[in-house]
Symmetry: C2
Subunit: 366 residues, 2 copies
Amino acid sequence: MDYERPQFFRVMQYADAAERDVVDMVSGNPDWEPPGALRDGLIEYADSDPAGFQYPASEGLLELREEIAARRNVSVEQVLITNGAGEANHLAMAEGLTRGTGDEVILTDPVYPYYAGRTNLLGGRARYVAVDDDGQLDSAAVREAASDETALIVVNSPNNPTGAVYPEETVRELVAIAEEYDALLVSDEVYDHFDYSGTFTSALAVDSDHRIVTNAFSKSLAITGFRVGYAIVPEPLMDGFRTRHMLTNVTSSRPAQYAVWRALRETPPDYYAENREMLRERIGAFTDALDAAGAEYTSPEGSFYVMARFPGFSGTMENVERLIDEAGVAGMPGAAFGESRADWFRFALVTPRAADAAERLADYFE
Amino acid sequence: MDYERPQFFRVMQYADAAERDVVDMVSGNPDWEPPGALRDGLIEYADSDPAGFQYPASEGLLELREEIAARRNVSVEQVLITNGAGEANHLAMAEGLTRGTGDEVILTDPVYPYYAGRTNLLGGRARYVAVDDDGQLDSAAVREAASDETALIVVNSPNNPTGAVYPEETVRELVAIAEEYDALLVSDEVYDHFDYSGTFTSALAVDSDHRIVTNAFSKSLAITGFRVGYAIVPEPLMDGFRTRHMLTNVTSSRPAQYAVWRALRETPPDYYAENREMLRERIGAFTDALDAAGAEYTSPEGSFYVMARFPGFSGTMENVERLIDEAGVAGMPGAAFGESRADWFRFALVTPRAADAAERLADYFE
């Protein structure tokens, strides 16, 4: 599997170019409204004096870092604002691979393809640990895969693409394994606001100099294009992180940081709860229609993806293009996430037409 | 000299914490107004539908790429939008050092410290070529320094910190040397709108698969905090660039890209000309006052920095702090830019109080 270039943009372009109506379930782009305070923040920012348009601190706007620190119950010195979770994960993986403690990166199978692509880019060697049918990661299998060569363990909970939410004991074990082998656990928690199970546990629950938590407002505030993310970095690692961030991006975009800060301060908990509930219902309608189609699928505990498979129709890029052209539904090929899901497709529940899409699939496969 | 962490933010923090009034001439943060259309663009963007807040293409907003391609007279396929010139330079240097054609990076002395820091970060070996007293780079000296080990030649014209603008023959020679040794010339042209000499030549004037031009709107639109830059990349190198950009940042911040696009389309040439003229006058007033102080200095042909030195007072960080505390003027230590300018200070002309600052310096050193 070639992870060098994640395939999301390729599938989106194919779907956009299709001549028929296509329900877009490709990317993790929320289709719901961002908070009103976010729009207000941009408008307010537009009126800044010239100094307000210049470099913020390299670590990010102090008021935004303070807001995040308070919410995550960490010191502000541990918070670095990044260009989305993408940069946060990039920095974390680059730091892990240059500490001189090995070049092996433990990833799950299926995997979010950017982790695999970054492993290649940064000269690491990927070692995959397969998850079970429910998407759960067996920490004993991770321990077995770990060795003195392990530089990084990169996980994502709630998970894309499986929808699994790892229980607290898994999170604790992963931190313990990272400590045992002088590796870094990178815990990407970008779907933390979309936990339907009530069991989500942040890796911040375990205090350790061997775990880095990454996150972003892309999903929780419905702004994947703003590129405002962050890393929570233990103090001994922060100096390296700051330097790498500065030499990579200097700093992150200020209008977006300001708008996110306003949105965080002024958006009530209802905003998050209502979107979560809306997604829960959407997932229910989609999977009900898949049931009717006789498809096999996973019901996510978190995030907003459903993996499904259809007899005799494997999850290749070619078949993704057939579903776009012949069924009018665009998903991602399971093969893009690893060998273990090569039979599957991933559908992102980011459209009010999710149930329609499932009916189209049912019609197509009946 | 430790370039691992550029010192700009450190000096700015020191100046901010000073108890007295300090004229800030540290960073390259414009103090003048961004174009009105930029503010309008942000306000218009704030009213987008939810889809407008999501990921733009990884390469950047198509309309912005088209606008840049038309202005630079290149095909849109050669334009990649980055998180400021910082990311563009980072990508270019990372690509140059992973092509397998050597690990040596030719830099000028004095050097913009981020180039030196990135060389270290990316595992390259810096080889410095000293410029002459006017800041001009002798291409014969570059050729002498070049070898089969040369991966990159990184230059900046109009130059920070010297203010030199390289003539066309230098630019042509640098491209020729890069071709000869299968290296990449990275030509950072972020000050291209601030050429007082009328002699600025972009490396785009020389068609070659061995030259990458980087730029940003940080200075020309007075928005260092927006982080909108770009790289013009020859077709054979673009695939690697796109992948690295995607795996580093996914894409750049969309509100800022949109506002820049609006500003480019609607801002008349007068905007740029007036700011250039304002800076030219400011530089004149500052250097006149330095004359009165008996200081030695360079008159920039481009960019907006003046290097100056004062007898018996070398350009160390310690002396920068003394000037802040005792003279009320904050500049950058020349030593931050290389050994050859260790006696000098760099003053950024980004304050209407530049002439006052020069008078404070004159009083201090008299």
